[in-house]
């Protein structure tokens, strides 16, 4: 039913987007927490840097990554000598989509941290729980809804990533050619309309999939809310 190259592109897209989200999320949590709770020198700079991928053309981000990782630069040379330079591999595609998804994840998580009532952290302190423990046991669980929506948003953004990926990772079938890139190639080749149409339909799978997951998570949460509302009711009627 599906051509091997289609399955390959779909699998690669998943691999790239899952990696980008899984690696990006913890970093986004850390950055969001720092931005939400700490005052430090250069905070404005960090905020700007984090949000750059949202406002500059993705191709520029891809180009910047390319320059950053070229063997002529410090990081690139060091990675090349270690045999780890990611340019033109699926890892490059994951880095490109991760960078593009990062600001969306940070924003969503930061909102959750900002919304936490200050009293919870203060009570934790009076109970002798502070620092990382306080973050781990109070702030992180309370921000859980923000984290799931960050993951869904980030995944959706990563799987649709095109400009930064094609610039940094190139469009190599089977290696860096994710669904959007394959679709682009098909649409560019004469007589590729059918293939492009099929790829477009295929792209719906991860998109609809992430929407369904988001919906399921939200439903589960409101179920909990309903249960607790019912609990309250039974307490009252029990009196």
């Amino acid at each position: 039913m599906l051509e091997p190259f289609e399955i390959e592109a779909l699998a690669l897209s998943f691999k790239v987007a899952v990696t980008a989200t899984a690696v990006g999320l913890p970093i986004a949590v850390w950055v969001a927490y720092k931005l939400s709770r700490s005052q430090f020198r250069g905070k404005f700079l960090v905020e700007t840097l984090v949000h750059i991928p949202l406002v500059v053309p993705p191709v520029v981000v891809g180009f910047a990554l390319l320059v950053l990782f070229t063997p002529l630069s410090g990081i690139g040379r060091w990675l090349s000598e270690a045999g780890l330079n990611p340019a033109f591999t699926w890892v490059a595609a994951a880095i490109a989509s991760g960078v593009m998804a990062f600001p969306l994840m940070v924003r969503s998580i930061r909102q959750a941290f900002d919304a936490e009532p200050i009293e919870y952290g203060e009570v934790a302190q009076t109970l002798g729980v502070d620092g990382f423990k306080r973050f781990w046991r109070v702030s992180l669980p309370l921000a859980a809804p923000g984290l799931t929506s960050a993951a869904v948003l980030g995944f959706a953004r990563a799987i649709g990533e095109f400009g930064a990926t094609i610039t940094f990772a190139a469009n190599i079938p089977g290696l860096t050619q994710t669904l959007p890139l394959a679709l682009y190639s098909a649409a560019q080749s004469p007589g590729g309309e059918i293939a492009a149409f099929r790829l477009a339909l295929l792209s719906l799978i991860p998109a609809v999939g992430s929407l369904l997951v988001a919906e399921w998570l939200q439903r589960r949460r409101s179920d909990v809310g309903r249960r607790s509302a019912m609990g309250r009711q039974s307490v009252k009627s029990g009196r």
């Binding site: 009293e119 203060e122 307490v235």
Partner: protein, 357 residues
Amino acid sequence: MSAALLEVDIIWRQQGLKNRATFQLHAGVTALIGPSGAGKTSLARMIVGLDSPESGAIRFGEYILYNSGKKRNIPAAERNIGLVMQQSALFPHLSVEQNIRFSGVATEKLVTKAVKILSLSTLLGRRTDTLSGGETKRVAIARAIAAAPSLLILDEPMNGLDPRARGAILPMIKALGRASNVPILMITHHIEDMLRVADHAVLMQPRKVIKSGSLEDVLAAPECAELMGLADASQLLSTTITNRQNDLLTADLGGDTLYLPDLGEEMGSKATLRVFASDISIAKTRVDDISILNQLEAEIVQIEQSDNQATLTLKLTRSGLALKSRLTVQSVNRLQLTEGQRIYALIKAVSVKDIEL
């Protein structure tokens, strides 16, 4: 009185205005009373370490918690002072039991004790958003106690609770003060709560602690009546119940006998009574054909007049105890009362309100 446990002498600024608090805290339950907006919560937050004063010192026993001169300011997490906030702030992602066990030092023994004193055994598995206001407050208190604090501060623990929940929580706070060696500082703006629970009191007017010490001393302070919106200065009398006859109790007040409505006190038990100055009338001779039973011999020590009111300071002949009586200036003139005069202080039995409920 036992040695001071907590010594506070701090200055802080709030909305640009200077605040000052100097007082000592002893074992037992101490009420921090004052009108809303006096700065009670701010003071508590600085003792706990959530906010910092501008200058001064806070000391607990031998430990210096804060000292501006020595540049010392122990973080809240290391002060070991429990705070039950007005909002309670139970962690919504944890069950009742997980909340109580939240602190790293909550031992099995401490948890069991806290659960017992605050009657929480049936609520342990519940989600916190299914609790009533009173239950929420009790869980918050248990959570603080289970952390083995060396001092517990309760910020308006009765706020927002219905009378039934208040009635349930007050004895628990009292029991807590007795069962544990943890001194308790209870913030309240209700005199009644203070009278029912506290051993000592600290009175705060906006931006300043003005009096601290025994309940009697604080209640007798002229500022107290004004600040707390009492109609009148009230005074506390310590009595011993001696007899019961015809629905009336008799109580001994340093040699004088008082008749009280029967509130079910045990013979020989102590009862603290509160009497408003306006509930004490004066007669120049003993009056027999009158419904007032309590007629105590006294001497007028001082007469102070302000506007249309006169406040008489009386000294009871038998016990030497001081009492204040409030009359109109007309009455003082009509009876030709003067300082040094011997009179009878008339106290209506029903106005002697028992407060050791």
